[in-house]
Amino acid sequence: MTKSRLVMGPILFHWDEQRKHDFYAQVADEADIDIVHVGEVVCAKRMPFFDKHLPDVIERLQRAGKEVVLSTLALVMNGRESDQIKEITQMPDLLVEANDISAAGLLAGKPHVIGPYINIYNESTLSYFEDQGAKRISLPWELPMTSIARLCETRKSAEIEIQIFGRMPLAISARCYSARARGLHKDGCRYVCGDHIDGMDVATLDNAPFLAVNGLQTMSSHYVELSDSIEDLQNAGVNAFRLSPHSLDMTCVAQLYRQLLDRQISADELRQNLKNMSLPMAFSDGFLHGMAGAELRNTLGQGAE
């Protein structure tokens, strides 16, 4: 079995420049992470805020020994955004993650990463992207274990990645729901998505937590948490594990998953430790088990002390 690599996914939320700087500085200096993704995935309107800092951030992370990958937009809708994708995919010496077919097409023929927003549900599609030069393939969130295992069996050499922690992106739209919730349009959004650093909570009319809105993106309210299945995933051949950044101490989260991957702590202990950290989080792992994605198969972390 090849070594399991830990991946820090791109920051999906519209954090301000200082928060992003602090985050990447901490990841560079303290986090036990193999791969770090940077770049904007959700909304092109956010890009001007941090793009200018990216060269420095990338350099700092690389100096700290991290493999750095530039993630790209999940929904590309106009000529300007297409041009941005073209420009990014032509940058030399930088590994890029495609999250839209436009980027995947432009990256063909050189090493690249296929992100979880690209629909890979079966062997033929996986094989197509491997043939195009994909070195790591992050699978969609809704795939069940049976599909993941099958895809691992048939891949040639690409790393197969699964997100194991964080809210799951469930949908993306041309319409901005952060703006709509305030009675604004996307064109005059005032960047209100930045007010919710882990996404805007959306509950049912019965006040049950349901979803989280992040600008154009709709996410799960529940945080996916797959510690209970890590061994199964490793045994199936998954060899990269993605953590999606949230406002809680991600260095600490990374440390917990590293210990879990190295069999130093149990899933139960990991879950208990997560619960002891600041956020009120509900967990789910339903997609992996072929159930509703919001469901949680086993309740862990009740008595790990």
Binding site: M77, N119, E142, S147, L170, T204, N207, F287, A292
Partner: protein, 325 residues
């Protein structure tokens, strides 16, 4: 513009042909298509008869095979393509890349259309599907504005088909797992969204509660018309306010902007609704046939007569107007 109409049953297909469709699209009775509802869709024999009837009336038939094959059972989707080509459909509508490659290799002469479920929303993505799989037409996702569609049509080597009437996805199609988050079944994997098997209605005091899986999608008082709990058309709470966070219960109707769509270079108009009955199909297809005929005779504006058929009796031109965003 070509009028592409839905048929969930042979009776609906006859209705669409008789009402003036240029093309009817349908799917096989399994998970290979995005309207995998009980009692709907075509057997192989029914499709053969349908193609014969349509072709006799100079109407084309497209076969939608537009879900994403599950690992280990891709052969089911591949067989659907093989059979549709053998039966003689005029185009196959696909979304999955593995399946597109299969279709291109195995049936080099077949006309391939890119399903809206592939969510090709930009020039580079569309050129990719044309270059790699010789796709001849792309069904555009319902996230693009008229200006964006016009811009695209100047730059891409393939025809475009846009949604004209019926249910409206507010999320980019083929990239939405909201339904499976609540129910375990998704458009991509199962060909269903907010499936009826997971829908429940409850009476609570004077109100009706609609639920999908474990989640309340809406609560109606006595004066409100109870609707189907399609997840993204529900009422939710955010920032201490309740409301239709994603979209009102509304339907798409582009009748008012038909001349603009034609001017923007659109080749074909798609009517959504393979789950609808034949009376509905007849009425919608006839109305669009009449509007298109008036436009081709030089009339510059059109008005819809279909508002009573719309979800919530309200309709919208959706993302085609940029203010929708």
């Amino acid at each position: 513009m070509e009028l592409v109409c839905p048929a969930g049953t042979p009776a609906s297909l006859h209705a669409a042909v008789d009402a003036g469709a240029d093309v009817v699209y349908c799917g096989f009775r399994d998970a290979t298509n995005a309207r995998n509802f009980p009692g709907l869709n075509f057997s192989r024999d029914e499709l053969r008869d349908a193609v014969r009837y349509a072709h006799k009336h100079d109407v084309h038939v497209y076969l939608a095979c537009n879900t994403y094959p599950q690992a280990g059972i891709e052969y089911i989707w591949q067989a659907a393509i093989d059979d549709a080509v053998a039966i003689g459909v005029d185009a196959v509508i696909l979304a999955d890349i593995g399946l597109l490659r299969y279709a291109r290799d195995r049936h080099p002469d077949a006309r391939l259309h890119l399903s809206v479920q592939a969510s090709a929303s930009n020039e580079e993505a569309i050129k990719f599907y044309h270059r790699e799989f010789a796709v001849r037409r792309v069904v555009l996702p319902r996230v693009l504005s008229l200006e964006e569609i016009r811009y695209l049509n100047h730059r891409i080597p393939v025809e475009t088909e846009v949604f004209a009437f019926g249910g409206m996805c507010v999320m980019a199609e083929g990239r939405c797992s909201l339904s499976s988050y609540a129910t375990g079944e998704s458009p991509n994997m199962n060909g269903v969204c907010s499936p009826a098997a997971h829908v429940h209605y409850e009476e609570r005091d004077d109100m009706t509660v609609s639920r999908l899986g474990d989640f309340t999608i809406n609560i109606y008082d006595q004066n409100e018309k109870v609707g189907y709990p399609t997840l993204c058309k529900g009422r939710f709470r955010a920032m201490n306010k309740s409301g239709y966070l994603f979209e009102e219960p509304t339907s798409l109707d582009v009748t008012a902007i038909l001349p603009e769509l034609a001017e923007a270079g659109v080749t074909a108009l798609k009517i959504e609704g393979r789950q609808r009955g034949k009376a509905y199909i007849s009425q919608v297809v006839s109305a669009f046939r009449a509007s298109l005929d008036r436009i081709s005779q030089g009339q510059l504006t059109t008005r819809s007569s279909l508002s009573t058929l719309s979800e919530g009796q309200s309709d919208t031109t959706g993302a085609y107007r940029r203010s929708w965003q």
